[in-house]
């Protein structure tokens, strides 16, 4: 997918020594949309995001990104100065992007009020709780109203209350026209994005809207109270919500009751197909 204002990477590969960190990965980030990269720790999410912001040059492939001043980036760390206060961090960030002080002050106040950070404006960033620190990092990244907002795991380890604030920030940035690209380890969170890339060991497992990814699952998924006793069916089963899901790769749904799968099921099937090898490809 290309076009004006569509940022992204095409066929990007990165190698660290003997390790292939990314293997021909393609992703698009559209203006006014949230795109999620989902995968386990070590799947290559940070490496991909670093390529997109220009912090890392890929060995192969091309990256399309706006000018550095039009990019907002929350790195995997805190993304802020821990020995500056909340207000000082945001003032410094605004100034370094050349935002006039009165305009910056208005924006800063709006975000601080809405995310429950206002009472902490004079606290040192290093003294904030994990959730507050992530909120501050995201506010700092979106202050310059970037065309491309790249957020590296903004919600990992954050409780659901702070997570709702973070999602409000993300939605506001997209509503303002930014192309938002975020990574996450939570499949249910990725399912809220307009488009999703599933990464596994540096390789793309699936890409598309959550509905497209779910629709592309080959065969049927059935549910059973007990785990299949043995053999092939047992290897195609996984535990979910106290019961067992079984992937039936063929047209025959087998004996079980078919379920309407979601993104989590789709990711499990993609991982199973890789695990079971070419016989089920």
């Amino acid at each position: 997918m290309t076009g004006p204002g569509v940022w992204g990477a095409e066929g990007v590969s990165v190698r660290f020594g003997a390790r292939q960190a990314l293997d021909r990965v393609t992703i698009s980030a559209l203006p006014g949309r949230v795109t999620a990269v989902v995968g386990a720790d070590g799947a290559g999410k940070t490496t991909l995001l670093r390529c997109l912001v220009g912090a890392l040059a890929p060995g192969e492939g091309t990256v399309r990104r706006p000018d550095a001043r039009r990019i907002g980036y929350l790195p995997p760390g805190t993304g802020v100065y821990e020995d500056l206060s909340v207000a000082e961090n945001l003032r410094f960030r605004s100034a370094s992007y050349g935002i006039p002080a009165p305009a910056a002050e208005r924006e800063v106040n709006k975000y601080l009020e809405r995310t429950g950070l206002a009472a902490a404006r004079d606290r040192l960033a290093g003294q904030l709780s994990g959730g507050m620190l992530r909120k501050l990092g995201v506010v700092a990244a979106l202050l310059p109203q970037p065309d491309l907002l790249v957020l590296d795991e903004p919600t990992t380890g954050v409780d659901p209350v702070s997570r709702a604030d973070l999602w409000w920030l993300i939605a506001s940035a997209a509503a303002g026209g930014a192309a938002v690209l975020m990574s996450t380890t939570y499949t249910d969170e990725a399912a809220r994005a307009a488009r999703v890339l599933v990464l596994d060991s540096g390789q793309p497992l699936a890409e598309g809207t959550p509905a497209e990814i779910v629709a592309a699952i080959p065969g049927t998924i059935t549910v059973a109270a007990e785990r299949p006793a043995a053999g092939d069916e047992r290897r195609r089963s996984w535990r979910r919500a106290g019961a067992w899901r079984v992937w039936q790769p063929g047209a025959d749904p087998g004996r079980g009751e078919a379920v309407a799968p979601d993104l989590q099921d789709a990711v499990c099937v993609a991982a199973l197909r890789r695990e079971l090898g070419a016989s089920h490809a």
């Binding site: 659901p160 380890t185 249910d188 919500a241």
Partner: protein, 290 residues
């Protein structure tokens, strides 16, 4: 009903004038997996520390295996901390052998579970996270604990690896162990047999996922231009959560949004709330309560 493995009865804990845990009742029986949910600062860690006997209670009582927490009781617990509790510079086999020596279960025997056999001689720091988590589980389960305490046990792993870790928890519960699992992950919460939701140190809900979500509804807005709808709701002081290209507003009837969205081409409906949406509602109510 069999005697609970762990039981908190009206447990409170204050630090100075700040009450962090406030009259909490919680019990875990054999074969049960109880999920402990709460925002940061809700009191989960303090509660776990009191259960482990690491922190005295300010009020109420904690009983482990029918007695006050003690060193002897600790031997019957398997604990997987968020940081996994493995030695990074020892191999998987060495970590397991060390833990066996500490718990005096067949010392010296360096047998590694089937699923970890390929990694027996690999240092923990070189393991992929999913494998390191499996090793931490193996270490915590090795002395046949009757009670498991698991702190965010599957964070950072992919859904299939998470499902495999939950198989292990399910097997232990099937064999009669009880487990307390703290988590922020709603997919994980759905694996528990029962949930206890804490807010500001108090239990604000307890029961199964279906029981906790109950009849809670969420208003759903489908708009030709979701960004415009979001701005309108925003201006009316209503916070919506973006999901794909629809907006979800937990704990609000659909009728409550019509005025804010008047004149925009939108379709407003109601759907059952998700566990996360219900949790958010409970946590917000718990925080604002006196």
């Amino acid at each position: 009903m069999p005697e609970p493995l762990a039981e908190c009865a009206g447990v409170s804990r204050a630090f100075g004038r700040l009450t962090v845990v406030d009259r909490v009742d919680l019990a875990v029986g054999p074969g049960e997996v109880v999920g402990l949910l709460g925002a940061n600062g809700a009191g989960k860690t303090t509660l776990i520390r009191m259960l482990l006997g690491l922190l005295p209670v300010s009020g109420g009582s904690v009983r482990l295996f029918g007695r006050p927490p003690s060193r002897a009781g600790r031997r019957r617990i398997g604990y997987v901390p968020q940081t996994l509790g493995l030695y990074d510079d020892l191999t998987v086999a060495e970590n397991l052998a060390f833990s066996r020596a500490v718990f005096s279960t067949a010392p010296g025997l360096a047998d590694v579970p089937e699923s970890l056999r390929g990694y027996a001689r690999v240092c923990v720091r070189d393991l992929p996270l999913g494998v390191a988590r499996r090793a931490a589980f193996a270490q915590a389960l090795e002395h046949g604990p009757e009670l498991l305490l698991l702190d965010e046990p599957t964070s950072g792993v992919d859904p299939l690896a998470r499902s495999r870790l939950w198989e292990t928890i399910g097997e232990a519960a099937g064999a009669g162990a009880g487990a307390i699992v703290t988590t922020h992950n709603m997919e994980e919460a759905e694996e528990c047999s029962r949930l206890v939701v804490l807010a500001s140190g108090r239990v604000v809900a307890a029961g199964t996922v279906a029981g906790i979500v109950g009849q809670a509804r969420t208003a759903v807005v489908r708009a030709a231009d979701w960004a415009a709808a979001l701005r309108r709701l925003e201006a009316a002081g209503i916070r919506a959560v973006l999901s794909g290209e629809t907006l979800r507003v937990p704990a609000r009837p659909a009728s409550g949004l019509a005025q804010a969205l008047a004149g925009l081409p939108v379709r407003i409906s109601e759907e059952p709330a998700t566990l996360e949406e219900r949790f958010f509602e409970l946590a917000a109510a718990g925080i604002s309560a006196p």
